[in-house]
């Protein structure tokens, strides 16, 4: 086992190439049939601990069950992913609290620890993945395709790793909105009076927070300064264009929010699926993207099934399934290059305008969150 631990690319001192080399060697040297009875799968850090994929599949099948949490069916195609994983391996999936939040995932791991219905695998936003890691709730696990996940998008010890993401997008009902909005600035026009919604308070919803960050980039702000984004929404509010309701398919259908700022994939899977005239555009002046993360619980009641789930998600099949749900899987660039991408699904994604500035660091995100918590209700006040 000790040889395998070195396989994790955790040290910054070692160059990536050396780490990868060591890892490959370790994989070769330990490959072989694993003894199911004597192996503690909750400590398995890669497929090698199972003696390869066949061993992992066998171990997972004998567990027979997988507990997932906070995975809505129409979010990134999770409904289909759950069904096909279940069918492929004959493993029953219990999907708990599908509409829950990242915080509730952490709570579930803590409160249900040791119980058979505790979550096995997590899908959470990065601040919560980091927090869960600090609380020692996550098990390090390195999927076979980890080389396709950029170093900046995963924990140094692979306790969490980016899975899929998307861009902040402006969606609009083309049956109501005759002149399509193209940018954050365009949304300030009087013709969009009482039209623009976001999906929740930016202190609660990751997408709304991202919308404020994107608006900041569009208005002279930066990853170090989210304030212009808050001021933008304050202006949108005083101009009378902002409709501060929890926006979604129902507020679109009722006519309350003919324009919604949200993740591009949710614009597609949640609203466009119900409103056929819904169009999605990524704003030209504020291009902001973010990824969610996968993780395996350190106290997973089904440790092998949990690890098989991760291998499945990061396989070409799993990645393409996310893509079919309009989400951009982390391996997308490599899959496009290799030609393994589902081309029809890829074509359905809204085009990204030039000017993408990359991703903020975690420190920048945390700072921005505190500013939003302090200033959102004060600056965008409704009285």
């Amino acid at each position: 086992m000790s040889a395998k631990i070195k396989c994790r690319p955790r040290t910054r001192a070692v160059s990536a190439a050396t780490a990868l080399g060591a890892c490959a060697l370790a994989l070769v040297s330990t490959a072989g049939p694993a003894n199911a009875a004597s192996t503690n799968y909750s400590k398995a850090t890669s497929v090698a601990a199972f003696g390869g994929m066949a061993g992992l599949v066998a171990a997972a099948k004998s567990e027979g069950t997988l507990n997932v949490i906070t995975l809505p069916d129409n979010w990134c195609n999770y409904g289909a992913i759950i069904t096909s994983f279940s069918k492929e391996y004959g493993i029953k999936i219990n999907s708990y609290n599908p509409e829950g939040s990242s915080q509730q995932e952490i709570d579930a791991m803590v409160q249900l620890k040791g119980q058979s219905r505790a979550p096995d695998v997590l899908d959470m936003s990065t601040p919560f993945a980091i927090k869960a890691d600090q609380m020692h709730l996550l098990a390090p696990y390195t999927v076979q395709e980890y080389m396709d996940i950029p170093m900046a998008e995963r924990a140094s010890d692979n306790t969490w790793y980016a899975d899929y993401g998307g861009y902040v997008a402006i969606g609009y009902n083309s049956a109501v909105v005759k002149t399509p909005p193209t940018s954050f600035k365009s949304l300030l026009k009087p013709m969009y009076n009482h039209m623009v919604g976001i999906n929740n308070s930016p202190t609660v919803a990751g997408a709304a927070f991202a919308a404020v960050f994107a608006a900041s980039l569009a208005n002279g702000g930066s990853f170090n300064n989210i304030l212009p984004g808050i001021n933008y929404f304050a202006k949108l509010n005083t101009e009378g264009n902002f409709v501060p309701v929890i926006s979604g398919p129902s507020t679109v259908q009722s006519g309350a929010t003919p324009i919604v700022i949200w993740w591009d994939y949710l614009e597609k899977s949640e609203i466009q699926a119900q409103v056929k005239t819904w169009k999605v555009v990524i704003p030209s002046d504020g291009i902001y993207a973010s990824y969610y993360d996968q993780a395996v619980s350190a106290t997973a009641p089904h440790p092998a099934a949990a690890r098989l789930w991760e291998e499945y998600l990061y396989s070409t099949v799993g990645e393409n399934q996310w893509l079919q749900g309009f989400c951009r899987p982390i391996e997308l660039p490599d899959m496009v290059k290799a030609g393994t991408v589902d081309k029809a699904a890829y074509k359905q994604l809204p085009p990204i305008p030039p000017g993408f500035r990359g991703y903020p660091t975690q420190t920048q995100v945390t700072t921005a969150e505190n500013v939003v918590a302090k200033d959102w209700a004060t600056d965008v006040a409704t009285t």
Binding site: Q103, A256, T378, A381, T382
Partner: protein, 265 residues
Amino acid sequence: MLLFLGIPAAAVAVGAFEKSSGSGYTMSNVDTATSGVYLRGFENSIKLSLITAIVPAVAGTFIAYAVHTSRGSALRRAIVTASGVFANFGGIPLAFLFIASIGSSTALVNNWTRDIGLSLYPTFDLYTFAGVALVYMYFQLPLMVLVTLPAFEGLRASWHEAAENLGARSWQYWRYVGIPVLLPSLLGSSLLLFGSALSAYATADALTDGTLALTPLQIGTFLNGNVIAGAQNVGKALALGLVVIVAVVMSFYILLQRRATRWLR
């Protein structure tokens, strides 16, 4: 009581003073919770709860009285059934009902009123303090009717007749008999409304996107969010604040109740 009230309250109280790292105690959670936007959250919450307790309490009392004195049983049954339904109608469905009826220029009621030449919109904005207060009335008023009706039942017709026989005028009957009998339950009902408004969450959340600072919504951002990680104890400090507010209101209530029930002792 201990299991479902005592232990959770104690956990909140202790958590409010714990460092978020989990070891040691600090005042910083409470300091944060009582300053800036969180202080304003308390102000707004208290203001909203007072308004949406007092107005429906007064109106609900008159409605309950009207129902009590009505001759036919049809009105009574209709009001009691409707109150039972509407008092339990809340959360996002309620918010959406208002959004769809008066929330936008194309909303249902606004379409009607425009046709008859009235323009409710955009004069009245649903997504404001006043809008949220109006929506709260929708469940507060029926709740008041529901909980005060039994008190009116307790008011026997023979007392009124006896007072009249002794030469009392209507106002004298109410001053010396009716209101003293009703007051304890009316006060209790108003307190219930205050608590119900103070703790309401989903309705206001759906109508404001956090632009109206309200304490329950702010607690939600810490305990239930996808954005701010690791500040749950500030949420607990806010919850402790709500406990303190309810405790203060309860003390007032007990004092008033003692005065109101003096005639019983």
